[in-house]
Symmetry: none
């Protein structure tokens, strides 16, 4: 059941096996519905050993979140070449992101769904990672503006909202790509680049969309 039941292995190895099993179980069943029994069995060890190494369900879940967050950011980071132009960096990062989430659906479920849905402590853990990514995207937008010779054209608050929207769109597209058969990481990335980069460009070209003057639309 799970891995071949190898006895007596060093702690570090066992711990990874346990995290593998936990990510899979948490990702598929959800945090609360996942039972420590199931995780232990899937890891091929007894429950007490899981507790000996990872202390509690909460700590185990936290360890999963941390590992998956690290893996995801590393995947994105190592897919990007900082010397290249901003759009190329974004394109590469998105491809790495969509590829990684497609290959690790359970890890992505843990990060995107489970961790956000089960209390502040867990959500905070993901927020750290997410902010790192948003910061990366924000920086790309700023670089792009500079490359377009329009440095101060965008107020900071606006840039933050744009980065947030871009990351949010990416997260949603990841789920969509995973759920829609036949949509590859490359296609998802292309769609998003089309959607986002064009918008950013025309924004920076100085032609933002302007809201209509409020006439009589207060819902009465």
């Amino acid at each position: 059941m799970g891995a071949v039941k190898n006895k007596r292995m060093p702690r570090a190895v066992r711990e990874q096996q346990m995290l593998d099993a936990a990510v899979r179980t948490f990702g598929q069943r959800g945090y609360m519905a996942a039972s420590m029994d199931e995780i232990a069995e899937l890891a091929g060890v007894s429950k007490p050993l899981v507790y000996l190494y990872l202390n509690s369900k909460e700590e185990l879940f936290t360890a999963c979140i941390r590992r998956e967050a690290r893996r995801l950011t590393e995947a994105v980071r190592s897919g990007v070449e900082p010397a290249l132009p901003a759009d190329r960096q974004l394109w590469d990062g998105l491809r790495a992101f969509f590829t990684h989430t497609a290959q690790n659906p359970d890890g992505w479920s843990v990060l995107h769904l489970q961790a956000r849905t089960h209390g502040e402590p867990f959500a905070a853990e993901v927020t750290v990672m997410r902010e790192e990514i948003v910061a990366f995207v924000t920086q790309l937008i700023v670089i792009a503006a500079r490359e377009a010779h329009r440095d101060p054209s965008l107020p900071e608050r606006e840039v933050a909202g744009l980065a947030e929207a871009l990351v949010g769109a990416a997260e949603s597209l990841a789920a969509w790509a995973n759920a829609t058969p036949g949509v590859t990481a490359k296609q998802a990335a292309t769609t998003l680049m089309n959607f986002a980069w064009s918008g950013l460009n025309s924004l920076m070209a100085g032609t933002p969309w302007t809201p209509p003057t409020e006439t009589s639309h207060t819902e009465a």
Copy 2:
């Protein structure tokens, strides 16, 4: 303890009280952590009555999802005037969406977080609503293309991806706006229109972003 303990009231009213309590509890505690005890107490009725009316926790949750989905789509629908131009419709719809989610955080939590996190049956329930909204947005994009006299310029698959991205971005921005103090529905809508509509326009103007020709992708 929630409502004043009124005896003998018509079934329809009681049911709504129960759903109110359930949405609040599910939204705040999460599906699994919410206990039928708590919901019954918050609704001011006894547990057997909840079962009499709503049969099981799963059906109760489903009923919550359906009610909140209906309320949300109705809010968006009634915020939009079909005769107006596409961008105005999108703008109005987004404002209605951000306003409604900000005013019903528990309902939005049920739809956006809880329902997606606890198994296919529930997720499917939201998917129905989501597809309705995506269809609405898709249609707006098509109209916009037509308005720009560029009917067939965008392949169907591409339009679907764009609508998906736009809706995903909106969902993320809703969470972001709810969590970031000082961000109003209008501001969130403006940010998204800037981001999306400009992108769509330049897309339709025939200048999509093109991926770099794949030459050597072993990042060495």
Copy 3:
């Protein structure tokens, strides 16, 4: 399996059945070794019902302590006639005490052994009762001194120590009487009266035992 499995009885009755079972189990197995499963089975109910009514093992134990303490003090109190002379009151009280402990060995075990051995909160609960009894005895000693026309002869600290010793001796004798076949409550009470009352009398007669002058007994 304990009582005949009567279904559907009012809460108050069930609670007493549970306390009966709990006192018996705690008294015989000890607090920690007693399992809630065993108590529930002995009470003839399911475990959840025990929790529904008594909340936790700790609260259940506390409830046992309180009930048994109340019963014991009431037994002693109702065995004593406040109008009678002090020695008669003490005699009657001791007899009531030995009789009650002999008839309720589990309750006495809970009070005397278990409660004192498992943490301050529980011990404190018994201390309240014990202090009440010590106070009663102290008062008897004072009355006795007054009856012997020797009011101020005993310093307060000394009286406290004497009452403590008397109560302690009674507690030990209770265990002894319970464990030694053929020793009745009356005999235990007589022994203790002989031991204590004579001592008190000669103390009050002004001839206390005096320690030897310390010469060379410091254990080097």
Copy 4:
């Protein structure tokens, strides 16, 4: 972490370290709440070693009881000079007793509380020691009676009860003295001598307390 982690020391020494740790842990936590893990850590050895030397938790506890019982009786025995008069022997024995229990609260807790509270096998272990002490006290009472030239005045059963009461009072006072700040071993011994010896003397002077003739015991 308890002792400095010395490797390779003779078995006898290691065993004492383990017993030290065990007595401390059992005395403070109680038999059941004490975990073998905690004991091993406090002793500075690994758990398997504890099992290698002491076989099981029960045997370890028994070993603790035996060692502490031996230490206590030895302390009392070595505090007493058999050539001295009976009252002096009792006085010296009590002082040694109160001193030892005050200096070894954990050991005393093991003997007086824990061992008695966790099943016959353990209680029996203490009973052996207790009977030795009761025998010693009994003998002192007999000697005292002889010294007072009243050899056969007290029936054996009565003497046994008196010794039991005296020892019981001493045990209670030990706990009282340990718990009441400012009460020394000497004071506790004095209080008890006053209480007991005077009583014994007047008993032997031929004036026992006599129960009232039972007339009408329905407390109306």
